[in-house]
């Protein structure tokens, strides 16, 4: 993680600190402006079965390893005094234990070694949680923060979503672990620079849409006067959770549990969110989501995230990346076991949140399909009737709409209506719903086809009855002649509903791209969604075929029509 940090700071800190200098006895009070409620129960009911905890209380001070080369989290201020979000956390731990705080400067290279030696009690030093590190140290759950990737852009950049960047040139720096992954998940065209400075200058000169980098480092850059007005508007993604670490020997001890409970309390009370704001960090979704999750209550009013008898947090409250199938049951166990044995990451099975999102996406797609089918029939019928109206102006309007409907791509129609017309309507305080705009445009496009089919059928009737007019009451006479072409048009509109994803309607395709961008399970999700859509369309073909046969006695089997 800290490899991503600013080089200048690292060098500066190295000069000043000269290794692991100890600020012995440097006592820090609670950070100004911090407001939280200390859980009396947590400190009061400390079981004494932790050697380390006993040692801390005996010596009357808590020794915490913190960074001094990572601005905003653990850095040095203009006076050369150490400060940062992690320093605030360390101070709060000492305050809760009722002991003095002793801070020791650690680096990415030596932080776990210091724990192993026993020269520090706790490490809070931008430590990313990985399975490897869990073998060397005890990493506290829940995580207190997560670093991720965001985009540094010019003040005038129009970028608002990661999907705006598809196919665009984006600057990045050599060696960043997330480059390849980001290019894969968001279809970026990366331009790689050697130094962060070069990449930032490339952004300034407009050579790329933005600079892809660790969000904590970008947050520090944005505070430099040189980059005033520059922004990081995109949500932080590819979150790597950070954990407080203690010695391997303390796993499952009272100290481990007390730290976990404290971090949980930091989330619940909003302390972490408040500190994040205080240090001018961009609002991270991780903290917001975690607070929401840990504040959730069960029906009886008790918190959902309570330790079980085994001392573990419930699986639903943990990051699924660190949960193994042995610890859970049901669908989650099945999904995790699949991931462990085959590497197939079916997050829509094991992750409750993904499962819910995917299900609602599916429902949304079904709703869109039904609405588009109904809309197309309505537009087609109305259009055909208007086309035969008595007034020539109405006829001309219907004919013109038909040409417009058939000759402009539906996606363009959607943009034109939602953004072009939408901007006009916004003047009057009206907002168009993307869902209904998509339904309207797709119905308009397909309705033009339905209209042509109905009119051709009417032409046949007119050969025997010159006064024949299309009318809802005479549908029975027209259905047998038009049904084939109409059904074909309806199947086509069902194959186009996912265009609504282009304007952020949360239907199946759009939910899928979100899930795979978050989880990185691109292959699995793409295969699932392709097969699912194929099955949906095939089911619809069958269904419409059945309805057609019902309506038209002895309708030809739909295949071999010219």
């Amino acid at each position: 993680m800290s490899a991503a940090c600013g080089m200048v700071w690292a060098r500066l800190a190295g000069l000043l600190m000269a290794g692991g200098l100890v600020f012995a006895g440097l006592f820090m009070g609670a950070p100004a402006g911090a407001q939280w409620v200390a859980p009396a129960s947590a400190t009061a009911a400390l079981p004494g079965d932790s050697e380390r905890l006993a040692l801390i209380q005996r010596r009357g001070s808590l020794v915490v390893g913190v960074k001094t080369d990572y601005p905003l989290f653990g850095g040095l201020n203009a006076q050369g005094e150490p400060e940062g979000l992690e320093h605030d956390l360390a101070a709060d731990l000492a305050r809760r234990l009722g002991v003095r705080l002793t801070r020791v400067s650690v680096t990415s290279a030596n932080r776990l070694q210091r724990l192993e030696e026993g020269s520090v009690d706790v490490v809070i030093a931008t430590l990313g949680d990985t399975a490897e590190r869990r073998r060397i140290a005890t990493l506290i759950e829940p995580h207190y923060y997560a670093s991720g990737v965001t985009l540094f852009v010019r003040p005038d950049s129009p970028v608002r979503e990661w999907s705006d960047l598809r196919g665009q040139t984006v600057c990045a720096t050599q060696g960043a672990y997330f480059n390849r992954e980001m290019a894969r998940r968001y279809l970026l065209d990366l331009q790689i620079y050697n130094l962060p400075r070069d990449a930032r200058l490339a952004v300034r000169d407009g050579r790329c849409a933005g600079y892809l980098f660790d969000h904590t480092a970008i947050a520090a850059d944005l505070r430099q006067p040189e980059w005033a007005g520059y922004r990081a508007p995109l949500p932080v993604v590819l979150n790597a959770p950070w954990a407080i670490a203690i010695s391997r020997k303390e796993r499952g001890s009272a100290f481990d549990r007390w730290l976990g409970d404290t971090v949980a309390d930091w989330h619940r009370s909003g302390f972490l969110l408040e500190r994040e704001r205080a240090w001018g960090l961009p609002a991270s979704r991780f903290l917001k989501d975690t607070r929401e999750l840990w504040s959730r209550q069960q029906a009886d009013g008790t918190p959902m995230c309570l330790r079980g008898i085994d001392g573990q947090w419930p699986a639903a409250c943990r990051n699924p990346a660190f949960v193994s199938s042995a610890e859970v049951s049901g669908l989650m166990q099945w999904g995790l076991r699949l991931r462990e044995t085959t590497g197939i990451d079916l997050s829509i099975v094991y992750d409750p949140e993904d499962r819910r999102a995917f299900g609602s996406g599916l429902m949304m797609t079904l709703g869109l399909t039904l609405a588009c089918i109904a809309g197309s029939l309505l537009v087609g019928l109305a259009g055909a009737m208007l086309r035969e109206a008595r007034w020539s102006l109405v006829r001309a309007f219907a004919a013109f709409s038909n040409v417009l409907g058939r000759m402009t791509p539906p996606l363009l129609q959607i943009y034109l209506l939602l953004f072009g017309i939408g901007a006009l309507l916004a003047e009057y305080g009206l907002r168009l719903s993307p869902f209904w705009v998509a339904v309207a445009c797709l119905s308009f496009y397909t309705g033009a086809g339905v209209m042509s089919a109905l009119r051709e059928a009417a032409l046949v009737h007119r050969q025997t009855d010159p006064d024949y007019r299309i009318h809802p009451r005479r549908l029975a006479s027209i259905v047998p002649l038009a049904s084939g072409a109409v059904v074909a048009a309806l199947i086509n509109v069902a194959k186009a509903t996912m265009m609504a994803s282009a304007v952020a309607v949360p239907e199946l395709l759009s939910v899928t791209t979100t899930i795979m961008a978050e989880r990185g399970n691109v292959g699995v999700m793409m295969n699932i969604v392709l097969v699912l859509f194929l099955l949906l369309i095939m089911a619809l073909v069958r269904l419409l075929g059945l309805i057609e046969q019902r309506l038209v006695q002895g309708a030809p089997r739909r295949k071999s029509v010219v």
Binding site: L404, L411, G420, E427, A485, K495, L530, L534, I537
Partner: protein, 230 residues
């Protein structure tokens, strides 16, 4: 309208027109994507049509099954599928030569699956007619095929969602570059005009040609040509 004070509607229309060459260049890419999609799809469709009319039952069944598949795959989803799943470059085995697969080629590949379905259906009918000696009826596929090509031109605008710099995507670029919401309506309307003015006359010609051919070669009316749209 949300225009800055110094800019009137007329000025914003004029500004839109200055972007016309840039937009037309994008439309060229739409045509290129469509041409490639039609080429690949027609070839694949011809193979499937041949398979469907062949003697061996397994080959026939395979032809039917594949046609069924190509007819029902939504190209919009397939476009995403190829954009995310195909590598951006392939190294040829042995030679070590690297081939880049640009986004527009992936888009053409995605659209070609719809063309394959259309051609497999209509070519097999045309081939059957040709073998029966009904050449006029077989030739009817030409205007239908050309008409389908125009549908593909319109469908090629979906390539914008995976970042191919075609017309629609360039419209968004222009709007973003000017940073003026008042530009949205004229820019999108201009794009509509480009599509309508290109496709409508051509469709008229094709429809006319088709009716002429039908009157000439067929003694009974014919339903419109079949095949799923992309």
């Amino acid at each position: 309208m949300n225009l800055p004070e110094h800019q009137t509607l007329t000025e914003s229309l004029i500004e839109t027109l200055t972007w016309l060459p840039f937009l037309l260049e994008g439309f060229g890419l739409n045509l290129l994507i469509s041409a490639l999609a039609m080429l690949m799809g027609t070839l694949c469709g011809a193979v499937l049509a041949q398979a469907r009319l062949s003697r061996p039952p397994t080959l026939r069944r395979a032809g039917h099954l594949l046609t069924e598949l190509t007819r029902n795959v939504p190209t919009f989803v397939f476009l995403y599928y190829l954009a995310f799943m195909l590598p951006t470059e392939i190294r040829l085995p042995g030679g070590g030569e690297i081939w880049l697969i640009p986004g527009w080629v992936k888009a053409a590949l995605a659209l070609s699956i719809a063309v394959t379905g259309f051609c497999a259906d209509n070519l097999s009918l045309a081939l059957a007619a040709w073998r029966e000696g009904d050449h006029g009826r077989a030739l009817l596929i030409i205007p239908s095929w050309a008409g389908y090509g125009l549908i593909i031109v319109m469908a090629s605008s979906t390539a914008s969602v995976v970042g191919v710099p075609e017309l629609l995507s360039r419209c968004n670029t222009v709007i973003a570059a000017t940073g003026n919401t008042g530009m949205m309506l004229p820019v999108y309307a201009l794009a509509c005009a480009i599509f309508v003015l290109t496709c409508w006359p051509l469709i008229q010609v094709m429809d006319h040609l088709k009716r002429r051919m039908m009157d000439r070669y067929l003694r009974y009316p014919l339903a419109t040509a079949r095949g799923g749209r992309p």
